[in-house]
Symmetry: C2
Subunit: 257 residues, 2 copies
């Protein structure tokens, strides 16, 4: 645990320097590097060391094309070096239990186990992102694969008790097309002491962020806009989306209890 002695601040700089990369060079990351990334990612915390996730590396171009279509047409799913689908996975533990004649159905169908598997997959994925960025690659998460979870499940042969949480593109960033760093909410609007501070008391910080993001959206290279953050996120979230998610997850035997 002497990690703090080496260059900890450089690591914070790496985190601070994150941007989602959607333009990649036409180059493939060597297998050895991918293995290093996944191996480092696996050390992420996992509830009771259950490691309730799997990751599918999509190397088949036809599969990528289909996934791109399901996700809404993002070219970077095709253009990136590696496209990963991160799955929450209770299939493994179900089958381990079966080997010793333990029926785990009631436990695995609980909302609690859905949270455990989803969080396990997310922590692992974020370690994957950081490890990739540490080696100089760029990444972007693609929640778009949740547009058509049934089709993704079918094409990847996902068994029950697994679901595709999100994808991730990894590759060599196109250095001529690196987006600006996206500002985040002022810390005061989300970091509280001892109790939650209700929205009304944080409005000044939301206003401050709206002004910051208005400038950001107006001045960025692509997707320029005159809106602020509140308008942008309200517009994005006001239409209910993916209302089939619950029945899809129930079919996969999640969230039944």
């Amino acid at each position: 645990m002497n990690s703090g002695n080496f260059n900890g601040l450089r690591i914070l700089e790496l985190l601070e320097n994150h941007r989602s990369i959607r333009k990649f060079q036409d180059k493939v990351i060597p297998d050895e590097e991918i293995k290093k990334i996944i191996s480092a990612a696996q050390t992420a915390s996992s509830s009771s060391n259950g490691q309730a996730y799997s990751i599918i590396n999509i190397t088949n171009q036809q599969t990528r094309e289909k996934l791109m279509g399901y996700a809404g047409g993002q070219r970077h799913i095709l253009d990136c070096s590696h496209f990963f689908v991160f799955c929450a996975d209770l299939h493994r533990i179900e089958n381990i239990a079966k080997l010793s004649n333990v029926d785990m159905t009631e436990s695995l169908e609980s909302t609690e186990m859905f949270i455990i598997a989803t969080v396990d997959a997310a922590l692992f994925a974020q370690n994957t992102a950081i490890a990739a960025e540490a080696l100089g690659y760029g990444i972007v998460y693609t929640g778009g694969i949740r547009n058509s979870p049934e089709l993704v499940t079918e094409i990847l042969h996902l068994p029950t008790r697994t679901y595709p949480v999100f994808g991730m593109c990894i590759g060599y960033p196109d250095n001529n097309d690196i987006p600006g760093k996206k500002p985040r909410l002022p810390i005061e609007s989300l970091f509280f002491e001892n109790e939650y501070i209700h929205f009304e008391e944080t409005i000044e910080y939301i206003d401050e962020y709206d002004q910051t993001m208005k400038d950001y959206y107006a001045n960025r290279e692509q997707n320029k806009s005159k809106r602020n953050w509140s308008e942008t996120i309200t517009d994005k979230r006001k239409v209910p989306r993916r209302l089939n998610m619950k029945s899809f997850l129930n079919d996969q035997k999640f969230l039944l209890k």
Copy 2:
């Protein structure tokens, strides 16, 4: 994006070096350091930049004692420098929408938005963990706060459309009590190409891991055991736990659709 040029492998070493720390020195991390950690953590990817999370820093000792009781008595919740509760948060966006007379109820009650908020909180938390470890601190996640989500919600005054996903202890590790690095599943058992590999075809790797973990459990300093991983995780998961989670989340207006 020239981050790869500096010491990327050292960052992978930091990730690889992770262990959950449960014994802390009696020292408090300076506020400046905490702010650096949170600020770096905020750069984690977030769905549509929605930042659907909040974090509550528990400085009040009485509140910590209560949370420790709710979570199952882990002393490190009291002994660590900082104890954070990470919340999935759709309260903020609900209220932003209300300001422009947009009723977002149907969207926010969807299972999809539950996933978005939970994943946003998890990615943010994992960045928090890495930033803290980069500066030499130790961390442990505490899922135990989900034992009594209603009580946690009450004591932290969490509004509807938020829920406590997990806690995290951060502090100066007790260097006399650093656990060994916990081995993870062989990469072959969870990293697949183009399609999911069913459990039956991965058994050899599970067997390999069982042997690895049997040695680990038998030889570690504390909580020695004669069991392997399959036995340990089956035992942990076979009893359904936290079956009140669904009704709690429904009361908080999550997962209604």
